[in-house]
Amino acid sequence: MITIKLRGVWHRYLDASSWALKDVSIELGSDEIILVAGHNGSGKTTLLKIAALIYRPTRGEVAVDGRDFWMLEEAEKIMVRRRITYIHEKPVLMRGNVLENIMYPLRIRGLGREDAAMKAKMVMRELELMDLADKSAKELSAGQSQLVAIARALVAEPELILLDEPFAHLDSRKSGLVAQALQARMRNGVGIVIASHSRGELPEGLEPDRIIVLEDGRIRETRC
């Protein structure tokens, strides 16, 4: 079980004149599906990247299980980050084939090649990616790339998964597969945070427990 609390978080990009996030305070954790909704430029991606411990906010505190993350030692930060994964809106894939991409989080955790491949293949079967195992990641379509990025996040067995517009490039069948995979993780206590323009973009069966609506960098409302 992991709990991430954002308290009074403000964020401004270095060359920007306006704030991307303004005084945001929320709690994200295991065991629930949260939808972060809002129009383009409302701050969804920034919020997710701060919650994923990728961006350090300009102001405010990000606490993981009660401890200020940005005050932790480097080694502790790595261990905490390994409990969370973030999936980019535009998938970032590495050189090499699909299998190697999905094995990456396991390899950096010290797993041997064979064990990592075995675990990666389990997730690949779940998302029907086995046919693409040997294909170069740079040759995939947008939808296939998104699925590989999702598989790579799932294989790490995180306690919290943050997905930025994960269904944008997926057809309804593939969206359904991802929804099933996410629901299975949620039943095991994993928290899911999805950024999307609206609730209507989520596939059937993926019902958010909470909806956080962002507007111009602020939380406009929170619905349960």
């Binding site: 480097e74 980019h88 590495m94 950096i108």
Partner: protein, 215 residues
């Protein structure tokens, strides 16, 4: 001049050795510098300075090095003047801005998204660095190839601090210059073709090594 085959081979091997070592030496500090630079947000002035140094005249650098390394210069005690080492040092300095500049451009494109990916996967700093360098490998390698091509083709430094001594510091470019001065155009053209072939072969073999199928 009428160079024998053994002498052409000797000059070619020396050129490869001197410029190859100069490239390795320069890459050892230029690639880390470009890596660090790729994470800095405001590099406008620094970038402009480095880019302007790419075109520094080799004779100017040769002159400065000559003054430093000559017996009356501050580094004269090292007795490096008119040795291959002097050319290696000179060429490594010469190509530093070029390698930093081209390598920085290759790294800048991948640094931010792949750092984010590495962090989101729980990678350590060294693992993140490995990932970023791996993803930018063709660009990084291309910057080293460009550095080598510039080094092997330069004349000013090799002439001024090398002295163009037969059997010791004569490299392809200085041998060509000497051939032209003496009116031995046939030998100069042969050496010129070797020089051209060398730079093309380096670029092609690097591309093959990197697995880039752009040929």
């Amino acid at each position: 001049m009428s160079l024998a085959f053994s002498e052409i081979l000797d000059v070619t091997i020396r050129s490869l050795y001197v410029s190859g070592l100069a490239t390795l030496l320069s890459a050892s500090w230029s690639i880390p510098a470009a890596y660090l630079l790729s994470f800095r947000r405001r590099v406008g002035v620094l970038e402009a300075v480095v880019e302007s140094l790419v075109g520094v005249p080799t004779v100017l650098l040769g002159l400065l090095l000559y003054m430093l390394l000559s017996s009356s210069g501050p580094l004269g005690f090292l007795k490096l003047l008119y040795t291959p080492h002097a050319i290696i040092i000179g060429q490594s300095i010469l190509i530093t801005p070029l390698i930093i500049s081209t390598c920085y451009r290759a790294l800048r494109v991948v640094a931010a998204p792949y750092l984010e990916l590495a962090l989101s996967m729980g990678a350590s700093k060294s693992q993140a660095m490995m990932l970023i360098l791996r993803e930018s490998a063709p660009g990084v390698a291309a910057s080293a190839v460009m550095g080598f091509s510039r080094a092997v083709g330069e004349l000013g430094i090799a002439m001024m601090v090398g002295g163009n001594i037969r059997g010791s510091t004569m490299v392809l470019t200085t041998a060509i210059a000497l051939g032209v001065t003496r009116g031995e155009f046939e030998a100069a053209i042969i050496l010129g073709i070797i020089l051209l072939a060398l730079t093309i072969a380096t670029a092609v073999s690097m591309k093959i090594l990197m697995g880039v199928r752009a040929l």
